[in-house]
């Protein structure tokens, strides 16, 4: 637009003044005004979608963070426990004991029902028997007395107290009847049912399709953690070494040009391709264990490397040549110049790039699909460093994907809850990256 004024030569005789706005200037001002409005509209659309996304996530996901529990006092009778241990499916016999205790507790509280213990058990999670058995196995001395348990309520009872399940919705449902909900109301008044913060969701393990109420993201969070350790341990040193060599030592020739082009291309390769590569190299050739965070981490390392190399080279480049020249001038070797002067000055930029690369890797699902980290996997918490790297595990985004696929609507709620946790991690990492940059960045 700047050269537009040159074409409009004022007509001879007309008075031109900077105080009166001529039509052409008015037009240019209007165009500028319109452009500003387009910009504001674009930002508003972006903000609208962000708000819609956040509202959807928060409104769907926060429900996963509370959980309904049923408080029950159960007598631990040695003979009953011994009898239950004789069966193949011991936990189902423990469940029967829980059912009897529930019937007793309800009649004690003055709640009348004609339901059989088996039917009443539909209000509790299938994990109740397992909780009971685990307590008995861990505390053999407690047998003979009694213990107060807090069992998880079934996903539909939980959904009812959260407003997700209604009586109409249960008409054709075979997992719970509307009559159960009347009992739940009475139990809540009697203090048998309570709703509390769901720590198990944050620290627990995945559960099977029939027990969404028992599922937690904790074990897959550990899987993600071990994967990130692997990514950090491999991608950071390899990436920095490669970029220092390319930037400071490598001669400029066709070969290094080729490498540079390839690194830039690699950064744009879809992540699923790295998954196929990981499957072929790490599992089929190197025979590393399937579904292991080590393999996941190595695959994600391949994906993160180009990002780290590119950002490291950019921050090395931004260190002015005068620093190197001064160091070389006082007799430092090239390596001393790089390691004593250039690298420390470039470090904030390198760290920022690394953190952003890690955040990318943390949210990645596609490569994990191919190396067997999606499914019913994150059910055994790792019991040490080696098992953390090598035992089958999932990762947070893979776990969310898996939950979103499952049939029970309660899993859908968990998936949104998982998204909240994942977003918190990503936000924290990005904020750390921004703070690092703010604090240490130097302008030359």
């Amino acid at each position: 637009m700047t050269d537009a004024t040159a074409h409009t030569t004022p007509e001879p005789g007309s008075k031109s003044s900077i105080l009166t706005v001529d039509p052409h200037t008015a037009k240019r001002h209007a165009a500028e005004g319109r452009f500003k409005i387009y910009g504001i509209i674009a930002i508003c659309i972006g903000l609208f979608f962000l708000a819609a996304l956040l509202i959807a996530i928060v409104s769907n996901g926060t429900r996963a963070f509370t959980q309904t529990r049923v408080v029950l006092e159960i007598p631990l009778v040695a003979a009953e426990i011994e009898a239950a241990e004789a069966y193949i499916v011991k936990t189902s016999k423990y469940n029967d004991l829980v059912g009897e205790a529930l019937t007793g507790a309800m009649s004690d509280a003055g709640i009348e029902t004609e339901m059989e213990p088996k039917e009443l058990l539909m209000m509790l999670s299938g994990s109740a028997g397992a909780n009971f058995r685990n307590f008995v196995l861990e505390n053999p001395d407690a047998v003979g007395g009694s213990h107060q348990f807090e069992f998880l309520a079934s996903s539909r009872v939980d959904g009812y107290l959260k407003g997700r399940v209604t009586r109409e919705a249960l008409v054709d449902d075979k997992n719970l009847d509307a009559a159960h909900l009347d009992l739940v109301d009475q139990m809540r008044e009697a203090g048998l049912v309570e709703r509390s913060f769901n720590w198990d969701f944050i620290f627990g393990a995945d559960a099977s399709e029939s027990r969404p109420e028992a599922a937690g993201i904790g074990v897959s969070m550990l899987g993600s953690f071990f994967m990130m350790l692997v990514v950090l341990a491999f991608a950071l040193p390899i990436g920095i070494a490669a970029s220092i060599y390319l930037e400071e030592f490598a001669p400029q020739n066709r070969f290094t040009d080729l490498i540079e082009v390839n690194i830039a291309n690699l950064a744009a390769v879809p992540s699923i391709v790295f998954g196929i590569l990981g499957l072929a190299v790490f599992i089929q050739v190197m025979h590393l264990p399937q579904s292991a965070p080590l393999v996941g981490g190595l695959t994600l390392t391949l994906m993160t490397l180009p990002t780290i190399v590119i950002s490291t080279r950019a921050s090395l480049k931004s260190v002015p040549p005068s620093i190197r020249d001064a160091a070389l001038g006082v007799g430092a070797s090239k390596m001393q110049a790089v390691f004593h002067h250039v690298l420390p000055l470039a470090m904030p930029g390198i760290l920022t790039g690394t953190i952003i690369g890690l955040a990318q890797a943390l949210g990645e699902t596609a490569p994990l699909l191919l190396i067997g980290m999606v499914g019913f996997i994150a059910s055994n918490p790792p019991d040490g460093l080696a098992s953390g790297f090598l035992d089958p595990n999932s990762a947070m985004p893979a776990q969310i994907y898996e939950w979103a696929k499952r049939a029970d609507p309660a899993y859908y709620e968990r998936a949104w809850g998982g998204i909240i946790i994942l977003l918190l991690f990503l936000m924290t990492m990005n904020i750390i990256a921004i703070l690092l940059r703010r604090k240490f960045e130097r302008r030359w």
Partner: protein
């Protein structure tokens, strides 16, 4: 320098890997239809035995069996879940890779149901011929094959609502598709007399079968390659749409879906067990016999899976939607004897 680090890290990886060679958990992969059942069993297995909880991955029957047939050894899976029987080609592939002893275990039966929005149009009763007439790409008419002229369900059957045909059926990678083609489309093809008409036209058996199962591609039928949750989302967004689901999935979502009868029979575990409901199929898992005794807990897992308390009519699998196999005892004896396929 970077080369030295690369070599060092590669060495470190190999060292770690060889130290971790002894796998102590059972690894399962395969059909996404079987996954819910397998995950329920795996969870109970972990709770009730001293073995760690098995790892169950999904991905489809074909990909599971392909991984199963990769060979024998700790870095291959022990069990493949499948919503169809293993094919001869897959048995050959297995044998070529040294997997010769395979135990076939039939878990039970699964029903395939046709469901639409709860408050949507009254799709309440179908017969297989409705589906053939609605979805066939071409059908015989006056001695020649013509493009399917039907656009609404009322065109197909006057008792059905006047709604545009829109069906969400499983994609070809799903085992469910095979059952849908055989028990619904092929059956409908026969019932409507289209099969006889094609025979009169002089077509051979293979091309008749192909013509019967060939689904129209003008948008009235949509292949869903993902899971049932994707089908549900599509039905949710299209009031006139009908989806094909597994019985267990429907039973978990009765608040939003209504199911239609097929041939006058409503789908339920009872009507499927008795054979009245026509669209059902057996579910299987395959055990690598060479891994029994090598991978701890493998045989125990198979035995536990098929125990009366688990796979029987009162067990947790039936509670979730599986139709128990009446011949459970024979299967249990077969696992006990480690009887392999011939």
């Amino acid at each position: 320098m970077s080369l030295a680090k690369l070599t060092a890290s590669a060495l470190a990886i190999t060292a770690v890997a060889s130290a971790a060679s002894a796998r102590d958990n059972v690894q399962v992969a395969g059909s996404s239809t079987v996954l819910p059942y397998a995950s329920i069993v795996a969870e109970l297995f972990g709770e009730n035995t001293d073995f760690p909880t098995p790892v169950v991955e999904s991905g489809g029957s074909s990909s599971g069996l392909a991984r199963f047939c990769e060979g024998v050894g700790e870095n291959t899976i022990d069990v493949a879940n499948a919503s169809r029987a293993i094919r001869d080609g897959e048995i050959e592939e297995c044998a070529a890779n040294g997997v010769t002893d395979i135990i076939q275990v039939r878990i039970g039966y699964d029903g395939i149901v046709f469901a639409s929005q709860k408050d949507g149009p009254a799709y309440t009763a179908f017969v297989p011929s409705d589906w053939y007439l609605a979805l066939a790409a071409e059908m015989p008419m006056d001695g020649e094959m013509v493009t399917n002229p039907n656009t609404t369900w009322a065109d197909v059957n006057a008792d059905l609502p006047t709604e545009e045909i829109l069906a969400f059926i499983p994609g070809t990678k799903h085992g469910t598709r095979e059952v849908f083609e055989e028990k619904v489309l092929l059956q409908g093809c026969e019932d409507t007399g289209a099969m006889a008409a094609m025979e009169e036209m002089g077509m051979d058996e293979d091309s008749i079968e192909e013509a019967c199962m060939n689904v129209r591609d003008d948008g009235a039928s949509v292949d869903i390659d993902g899971d049932y949750t994707e089908t549900l989302a599509r039905v949710d967004a299209n009031a006139n749409g009908i989806g094909v689901f597994g019985l267990a999935f429907y039973e978990n979502n009765t608040d939003v879906l209504k199911v239609a009868t097929m041939g006058g029979v409503a789908p339920s575990t009872e009507s499927i067990a008795s054979g009245e409901y026509p669209v059902s199929r057996p579910l299987y898992f395959y055990v690598k016999a060479a891994h029994i005794g090598v991978i701890p807990g493998l045989k125990e897992y198979a035995q536990f899976f098929m125990a009366d308390e688990i796979a029987g009519p009162d067990g947790p699998l039936a509670q979730y939607g599986l139709v128990a196999d009446p011949e459970l005892a024979a299967t249990q004896a077969m696992i006990e004897a480690e009887e392999t396929m011939q």
